[in-house]
């Protein structure tokens, strides 16, 4: 009985809307004619996979998520290790480093768009003039636009990744590390055999949090490229928002959202499996 309020909360706040979304994904529900809702079976899903723009959005979303989160993990872990030692400089550096995290993604997108604009942006103009960027600028080049968005995301969210990993590092028992050092373990051995296995829960938390967030990338795409050039930066969330909020095709948008939910679920599950595999492999050594 004690768990009943939590269960009710789950049903009302999480499960019921999810179920409603799932139901809509099998209908042709459209806000411009709300009185007429017909069951269309898998049509919204087959339409989504038949649409080249949606297929490109799926690919872009996965590329964006893996590249952005992968880079954030690598750089974030490096930063966390650098800031691990307790010192005044490190505390100040950490505080300054967290500034990008506090800025809303929409503002970050607008800021980078203004800076990277090749005709009058402070970075974009000189990059173009010096031949460091394509003539159209980073955001209007089909080969570089997605990579640029990935780097913008890395700039914004790496500090959060570093913070989570740093918290993990600070919670490690120092006696084990000291004992390993006394026993003559090299820095690499200590890192790979002791720090990484013990840090896996923090890595898992950071990966799941950031992957779920990166998979739903919307704001920076909306303000920097609008999904272009062509479909180069079209991502699933942007695609779903367009169908739902511009075309008002709630059924079709729900299908995209349900697909995203399944993808995020699989992504989280795969991280659990990866972490478990890593734990057992490292533990066996």
């Amino acid at each position: 009985m004690i768990g009943l309020p939590a269960l009710l909360y789950m049903v009302l706040v999480a499960l019921w809307p999810l179920g409603q979304g799932l139901y809509y994904s099998f209908t042709d529900y459209t806000l411009t004619r709300p009185g007429r809702v017909n069951w269309v079976g898998w049509e919204n899903y087959t339409d989504m996979f038949a649409d080249p723009s949606a297929r490109r959005a799926i690919l872009n979303t996965f590329v964006f998520t893996f590249a952005a989160v992968g880079l954030q993990l690598a750089v974030g872990l490096g930063l966390a290790l650098l800031l691990w030692r307790e010192s005044r400089f490190n505390r100040i550096a950490l505080a300054l480093m967290l500034i990008p995290v506090t800025v809303t993604p929409l503002a970050v997108g607008l800021m980078f768009r203004a800076m990277l604009e090749p005709d009058f942006g402070i970075l974009g103009y000189w990059a173009r003039v010096l031949g460091l960027s394509p003539t159209r600028g980073f955001l209007a080049d089909e080969n570089l636009a997605l990579a640029t968005l990935i780097l913008i995301d890395v700039w914004e969210w790496t500090p959060l990744m570093a913070l989570i990993l740093l918290a993990g590092l600070k919670s490690l028992p120092t006696d084990i590390l000291e004992a390993a050092e006394v026993d003559g373990a090299s820095r690499f051995q200590r890192f790979w055999r002791i720090i990484v296995p013990m840090l896996l829960p923090a890595i898992f938390l950071a990966l799941v949090m950031r992957s779920m967030d990166a998979f739903k990338i919307y704001d920076s795409v909306f303000v920097t490229t609008g999904g272009g050039p062509n479909d180069a930066t079209n991502v699933l969330m942007y695609h779903a928002a367009k169908i739902g909020l511009e075309f008002f095709q709630i059924g079709a948008a729900s299908a995209v959202s349900t697909f995203m939910l399944i993808c995020v679920g699989l992504l989280a599950a795969s991280f659990v499996l990866m972490i478990r595999a890593a734990e057992s492999r490292l533990g066996a050594r």
């Binding site: 806000l31 411009t32 004619r33 709300p34 723009s53 604009e117 090749p118 005709d119 009058f120 942006g121 974009g124 173009r128 003539t135 159209r136 600028g137 955001l139 209007a140 089909e142 490229t225 609008g226 999904g227 272009g228 050039p229 062509n230 479909d231 367009k242 909020l245 511009e246 075309f247 008002f248």
Partner: protein, 432 residues
């Protein structure tokens, strides 16, 4: 209302808002037929320059009628999604809303807003229908004869050009599209960061809407005479080729990712010699805090292809009333619509440097003409206005999206104009 109260109110208003404002309000009284019982209406309002002026003027309406109007300023996508959710969910958060010219088809089909025809007919004398440009009445908020929003702010597509740049080059501003293309090429001096022309190239609504404007001026049309998509017609393919070539030869390199804000910024920064704009943007060029081209801009009619009939694109906003509210609130909302779209209030918008032109008497006012010389361009454009260069049909959002990707892919060089439009056409016909 007692005469003494009226007099003191006029005096108070005159003290706070100046003589001009008081005079405006005094005549504005005629637009409000009856004083309504005190109530508060909520209005969802597009975040265009008129919004802040409306917020400032709304209390004056409350003083006169007892009807307070809370103006909630929203961005374009936010406005559309909020009012749609409100209308569909029947939550009645908003009594009134600004409605974009291109939403008419969707909203008419859904029946979210009330049909204003009977009210317009009832109050036609009070409204002064003859004073409103035909293009505004037939274009803004009107879908196949049903008036589901009342014309509030008509925007006119005009050509903004740099007088100094044209003078230095010894050229005359373009009268036709052919002259515009030629002058754009001649005025381009890329090594010195000067480009002859700019338009939106960014994927989605920015590039779709700009191309549709030029497409109509070159002789193309998105729909055929049968009302069905004719996206891949030879005329449209030709116009898209012209548009692409203008980008390649005369536009700033970053223009393929320009939206409205970036294009205006490029013009204000002084790197673009000319571009087509909605009249609502004109004042920003004369603001020295954000513009490097103060006093150097000319405004003229948007050129069309040689030999084409006069055809000037118009857009803008209507005021619509939520169909879910009760009769009493509807009448109160209608009272506000009449007041906000009256000639007297439009003058006050102009006093605030915001042009919401639907009234002939305002546009042709000699005193205002002296202050705003471009009003002659507005008059000519509205007299020959074309509200349908963007098809005002329920399928418009999807068509705009298809064009937004098709045209952008041509500009970035991944598709040729005909093939790209063929693809868009094939997908558009499935919507009908």
């Amino acid at each position: 209302m007692k005469p003494s109260q009226t007099t003191s109110r006029r005096m108070a208003l005159g003290m706070t808002a100046g003589l001009g404002l008081a005079a405006g309000l005094a005549t504005g009284r005629s637009a409000v037929a009856q004083t309504t019982a005190p109530m508060t209406l909520n209005m969802a309002c597009m975040n265009d320059p008129f919004a802040t002026v409306l917020v400032r003027l709304a209390p004056l309406y409350a003083q006169r009628t007892g009807v307070r109007v809370n103006v909630d300023i929203l961005s374009y996508p936010e406005l559309l999604s909020r009012i749609t959710a409100d209308f569909v969910g029947r939550t009645r958060n908003y009594d009134l809303s600004t409605m974009d010219i291109v939403w008419a088809g969707q909203f008419a089909e859904a029946g979210h807003t009330i049909e204003l025809g009977p009210m317009i007919q009832r109050d036609s004398a009070e409204i002064g229908l003859d004073d409103i440009y035909q293009a505004a009445i037939l274009g803004i908020g009107n879908f196949r004869g049903r008036q589901i929003a009342f014309p509030f702010a008509a925007y006119v597509n005009v050509l903004a050009f740099r007088r100094d740049v044209y003078e230095r080059a010894g050229l005359q501003p373009p009268q036709t599209m052919e002259e515009l293309i030629s002058s754009a090429q001649r005025l381009t001096d890329a090594p010195n960061n000067m480009y002859g022309w700019a338009a939106n190239g960014r994927r989605g609504p920015p590039v779709a809407q700009d191309w549709m404007t030029y497409n109509a001026q070159i002789g193309g049309s998105i729909l055929g005479t049968d009302g069905r998509p004719a996206i891949n017609s030879p005329a449209n393919a030709r116009s898209l080729t012209v548009y692409r070539d203008l980008f390649r030869i005369s536009a700033p390199p970053g223009a393929v990712n320009y939206d409205w804000a970036a294009r205006h910024e490029a013009f204000r920064q002084g790197i673009v010699a000319q571009h087509q704009i909605w009249t609502i943007s004109i004042p920003s060029y004369e603001n020295p805090e954000i513009s490097r081209i103060v006093g150097r801009t000319g405004i003229m009619l948007a050129p069309t292809a040689a030999g084409m009939a006069k055809r000037y694109g118009i857009g803008g906003w209507g005021l619509a009333i939520n169909a879910g509210i009760d009769e009493r609130r509807r009448e109160a909302a209608w009272g506000f619509v009449k007041w906000a779209s009256s000639a007297e209030v439009q003058r006050q918008f102009l006093d605030a440097n915001v042009g919401v032109f639907t009234r002939k008497s305002v546009v042709n006012d000699p005193a205002l003409r002296a202050r705003f010389p471009f009003l002659s361009v507005v008059d000519e454009s509205l007299t020959n206005g074309d509200a349908d260069f963007r098809p005002r049909i329920p399928q418009y959002p999807q068509i705009q999206d298809l064009l937004g990707t098709a045209v952008n892919s041509v500009l970035v060089g991944t598709a040729d104009p005909q093939r790209s439009l063929d693809d868009a056409q094939a997908r558009a016909v499935r919507l009908f």
